[in-house]
Amino acid sequence: MGRYVARRLLIAIPTLLAISFVMYAILALAPIDPLSQFGADPRVPPEVREHIRQALGLDQPWPIRYVKWVTAFVRGDFGVSFMSHASVGDLIWQRLPNTLAVVGVAYIVGVLIAIPAGLISSVRRNSPVDHTISLFAYAGFSVPTFFTGILLIIIFSIKLRWLPFIYDSNLKITDLGSLVEQFRQSVMPIAVLGLFDAAILTRYIRAEMLEHLPLDYVRTARSKGLLERAVVIRHVLRNSLIPVVTLIALGVPAVFGGAIVTEQVFHVPGIGELLVTSIGTGDTPVIASVVMIFAVLVVLFNLIADVLYAVLDPRIKYA
C-alpha cells in the first residue's frame, strides 16, 4: 500500500500540472475580461483601457503568462488580484474561515443526518418512516438552494424577525454572546446546505444498504444470533460505505470550493463567492489560484478514498 500511495503522489505532480495548463488555457480562451467592468463608459477611453491591459500583463501571450503564473504558484506566490491589488493568498485566507464555518459545518451536519436517515430508511423499507424520509429527500434535491434560502429569509428574518440574513464576517467569537450571535447568523445557511447534502447522501446510503441487506453474509451473521443492530452497523453499513466514502471524498474539496448560491443569498463572503465574482470580473490570478487549490484537494481526497476502499474491503488490490 505504501508503494501505491507513493506512486500515486508522484503521478499527482504531472496530473496537477496538466490540470493547471488546461485550466489556464480555458481562462485565456474564455470571453472574460477585467476591463468589462468599465462597461461602455466613455469616461474610460480606449487608450486608458489599453494602459490598464498592459499594466495587468494581459498584452502578453497567454502561454507566457501561464509559465510565469505556474512557476510563482509552485513557489507559494499566488500573485496579486487584478481587482483589489491585494495578495490572492490573503484574499483566500480571509474567506476560508467563513466557508468552513458555514459550508464545512453544513457538510458535517448533512453527513450526520444522512447516515442514520439512510440506515433507518433501508432497514424499515417501505414503512411510513421510509416514505417520509424519502419524500423529504426528493424535495431536498429537486428544490434549488436559492429557493429554500429565500424562503427561510422571508419566514425567519422578515416575518418573524428572529434571525439576521446578512452574515457579519467581522464577528469574533470571544464569549457566549458572540457564540450565540454566530449561531444565529449561520443557522439558516447551514440548514439550507446541510439538508441539501443530507437529501442526496441519504438516497445513496439507502440504496447501497438495500443492496447488501439481502446478501448471504448478512443472513449468516443473523443466523449466528447477532443482534439486528450489530448486524446492520457492523456488517451491512461497513460494506455499504464504499460509495459513501467516494461521495464524501468528492464532497470535501467541494466544501472548499464553497456554496455559491447560498453564500450569495446569505451574504457570506466565502470562497465560492470569491470565485464567482472573480470570474465575473475576469480576475485571472484569483480564479487560477482557487481552482488550483481545489484541484490539489480533489487529487488528494480521491487518493484518500482509494486508500480507504482497501481498508474497508481488504480484497481490493491496486495494480
Binding site: 456554496a259 448560491v261 465575473g280
Partner: protein, 578 residues
C-alpha cells in the same frame, strides 16, 4: 450552478458608472456633536475591492473610497461644483478661470490635515495628477489628463491647472469622483509600474470624514471617524460598516423590510417587487430618485452582422440589409412602447421614466423638440403603415419582407430580470407589426468587452440594449458614441465607442462645433441639436431615463442625504446624521 446564475444576473446590473458634472453652492447640515451617532450601516450588492479611486473598477469602489479620499470640489445635483478641499470654486467671475478657458487657479482650504495628522498641501494635488497621468500607473481615471498641459503647486495653498486648448469643461481636473486627492507621502512609491502592487490602495490615508480601520476586499470595509477632520462637529457617526454582497432584492429587503441596514445601494429590482416593499405601512425606507444622464437605449446596427460575411462581418464597409432603411428604423421606433416599460418595469418614476432623448441632463441641454416627433409616439398602426407604404409586405408567416429580405432581427442585452422583460415587451410589439424577433442575453462580463464576439462592441446582432451616461459636458458622450471616426471595428480591435457604426456628416459637424464653443447658451442649443439628429434619424431608440446615480434606498431615520447625479452618492456623507 443556480448560484452562478444569480451572480451573473447580479453582475449584469452594472452597466457602467453613472454621473459627474457642473458648478455651485455649498451644503451645510444640522450641527451635531462629532461621533454622537453609532455605527452607520451601508449595504452594496457589489462589494468594493479597492479603495483608491484611481484604480477603481466600478461605482462600488468610487463610493467606498469617497468616505476617505476627497476631490477639490464635488458636483451637486444640478451639476454645480461645491468646494470640498478648495476654499472656493474658481469661476470666470471670481477670476479663478481665465476668459479663454485655458487656465484654472484653485485656492485650497487652510489647515486641512490628513487623517494621520500631517498637513494637506498643494503638492499633494500636484502629485496626485502626476500619479494619474503617468500612463504606466494605468489609472482608470486617466481621462482627466486628456488635453491637460500641467497641474502645478504654485504655493502650499494654490494649484494652477493649464489646459492645452480652450476647455469649456474646465472642471475636468479637480471636480467629482475621478479627482480624489491622494497623500503624496503614502503614494510616492506607487507611481508608474509600482502602482499595481501598492498596499496603500487597500488602506489609503485621506482628508475625508472617515478613515479605514479594516478592509476585506470584496467583503467589508470598516471605518472609524477621522479625528483630524476639518469640521469639528462632523461626522455624526462614530463608525461606518460598508458591507458588500448579495443581490439587489436582498438589499431592498434589508433596508425596507428588516431595517438591518441604513443605506441600500442601487435597488435595481422589478418595480412590482420594490414598490410594495417601499410603500408598505411598516416600510423602513425611502427611495432616492434623481434623474441624470443615464439612459437605457436600444442600438440599431448600421453594418451587416451576418456571419457568412466572414472577416467583413459587422465592418463599417457593409450595410445592414434592412436597418439601413430609415423606414424600417422609424417603424421600430414607433412600435416601441416605452411607457409600458417605464410603468410596468421601472415603476413609473420609481427607478426610471420614459424618455425619447438620448441626452437627459444637464437640464438646459435637454431637447424639448422630441416630444412631438412621430418616432417618439407609440403608434403601431403608423408603424405598420410606414412599412406597408415602403414595400415591406407581410408573408404567409406574418413576417414582412421586401426583395427577399425578411425583417428578422436578433436582439441582445445583458442578463438582468428587468432587461429580459423589456425584451419580452419589445418582442411582442415588434412582432405584431411584422418583425420576427430572436432574443439573446449574455452576462455583463461577456457583454461589456471588446474581446468577446457576444459583446456590445462587436455588435454582431441587429439590435442591442444597455444603459450609458455622460459627463455634465456631453461633448465626449456624443463624440465617442456616434461620430464617423469613432466606429468600433476590427482594425481598432472594437475599442472605440460608436458600436452601431453610425455615420452622419451633419451630426459630426454639430459635435465639432460643440467641442469649440464657449458660449453656454450656444452650447446648450448645439447639444439639443445633436440629440435631435440622432432621434429623428433613429440612429438609436432611447427608452428610459434611469434614476441616477442609482436607485438607492435609505432608512427613514437617516438625515442629511443629498444625492448628486453627477458625483458619488457618498459625496456629502460628512453631513449625514440620524
Amino acid at each position: 450552478m443556480g448560484a452562478i446564475a444569480m451572480l451573473v444576473a447580479a453582475c449584469g446590473q452594472s452597466q457602467g458608472p453613472s454621473a459627474s458634472a457642473s458648478t455651485g453652492a455649498s451644503a451645510s447640515a444640522t450641527p451635531a456633536a462629532r461621533g454622537a451617532g453609532g455605527d452607520l450601516k451601508i449595504l452594496y450588492w457589489q462589494a468594493p475591492t479597492i479603495l483608491n479611486p484611481h484604480q477603481a473598477t466600478g461605482t462600488k469602489d468610487n463610493d467606498a473610497s469617497r468616505l476617505v479620499i476627497e476631490p477639490l470640489a464635488a458636483f451637486d445635483n444640478d451639476g454645480n461644483a461645491v468646494a470640498v478641499l478648495a476654499q472656493e470654486v474658481p469661476t470666470v467671475a471670481n477670476g479663478g478661470v481665465t476668459a479663454d478657458f485655458k487656465q484654472v487657479t484653485w485656492k485650497l482650504k487652510q489647515n486641512v490635515k490628513w487623517s494621520d495628522g500631517t498637513p494637506f498641501t498643494a503638492s499633494d494635488v500636484e502629485f496626485t495628477y502626476k500619479y494619474i497621468c503617468d500612463p504606466k500607473t494605468a489609472a482608470s481615471t486617466a481621462d482627466r489628463c486628456e488635453g491637460v498641459d500641467s497641474v502645478t503647486a504654485k504655493d502650499p495653498n494654490t494649484v494652477v491647472v493649464k489646459y492645452k486648448d480652450t476647455n469649456p469643461f474646465f472642471y475636468q481636473v479637480g471636480v467629482g469622483f475621478s479627482n480624489g486627492i491622494l497623500q503624496q507621502a503614502q503614494y510616492k512609491n506607487c507611481v508608474g509600474d509600482a502602482a499595481k502592487n501598492c498596499p496603500a490602495d487597500l488602506k489609503p490615508i485621506g482628508t475625508g470624514p472617515y478613515m479605514v480601520k479594516d478592509f476585506k476586499p470584496g467583503d467589508t470595509v470598516l471605518y472609524d471617524m477621522n479625528p483630524n477632520y476639518r469640521d469639528a462637529n462632523k461626522p455624526f457617526f462614530k463608525s461606518v460598516t460598508f458591507k458588500g454582497g448579495g443581490d439587489a432584492a436582498a438589499s431592498a429587503r434589508a433596508v425596507c423590510q428588516t431595517g438591518d441596514t441604513d443605506y441600500g445601494w442601487n435597488l435595481q429590482v422589478e418595480a412590482t417587487v420594490l414598490k410594495p416593499m417601499a410603500a408598505a405601512a411598516d416600510s423602513k425606507c425611502t427611495l432616492l430618485t434623481n434623474y441624470g444622464s443615464s439612459v437605457e437605449r436600444i442600438l440599431l446596427n448600421f453594418s451587416n452582422p451576418d456571419p457568412s460575411l466572414g472577416d467583413n462581418r459587422g465592418e463599417p464597409s457593409t450595410k445592414h440589409p434592412f436597418l439601413s432603411d430609415i423606414h424600417v428604423r422609424r417603424a421600430l421606433a414607433m412600435a416601441t412602447d416605452r411607457n409600458a416599460v417605464a410603468v410596468q418595469l421601472y415603476g413609473d418614476g420609481l427607478a426610471g421614466k420614459a424618455t425619447c432623448n438620448i441626452l437627459t441632463a444637464p437640464a438646459p441641454m435637454v431637447s424639448k423638440a422630441t416630444d412631438s416627433l412621430d418616432v417618439c409616439k407609440f403608434d403601431k398602426a403608423a408603424a405598420e403603415k410606414e412599412l406597408q407604404d415602403n414595400g415591406w409586405v407581410k408573408g404567409s408567416d406574418g413576417v414582412r419582407a421586401k426583395n427577399g429580405v425578411r425583417l428578422e432581427l436578433s436582439y441582445r442585452t445583458t442578463v438582468n430580470a428587468v432587461r429580459q422583460k423589456t425584451q419580452d415587451i419589445m418582442k411582442a410589439n415588434w412582432e405584431s407589426i411584422g418583425f420576427k424577433v430572436n432574443l439573446l442575453s449574455v452576462p455583463a462580463s461577456t457583454f461589456f468587452t471588446n474581446t468577446s464576439p457576444d459583446g456590445a462592441n462587436h455588435f454582431w446582432t441587429d439590435v442591442e440594449m444597455y444603459t450609458n451616461s455622460g459627463d455634465p459636458d456631453p461633448t465626449s458622450y456624443f463624440l465617442s458614441g456616434w461620430t464617423c471616426n469613432q466606429i468600433a471595428q476590427k482594425s481598432n480591435n472594437w475599442q472605440l465607442g460608436n458600436y452601431a457604426r453610425y455615420c452622419n456628416q451633419a451630426f459630426d459637424d454639430v459635435v465639432a462645433q460643440l467641442k469649440k464653443e464657449t458660449d453656454q447658451n450656444k452650447r446648450n442649443q448645439l447639444a439639443q441639436q445633436a440629440n435631435d439628429i440622432l432621434v429623428k434619424d433613429v440612429a438609436i431608440i432611447p427608452l428610459i431615463s434611469r434614476v441616477a446615480p442609482t436607485a438607492s434606498g435609505v432608512s427613514k431615520s437617516l438625515k442629511g442625504i443629498k444625492v448628486s447625479v453627477w458625483d458619488s452618492e457618498m459625496w456629502n456623507i460628512a453631513d449625514w446624521s440620524k
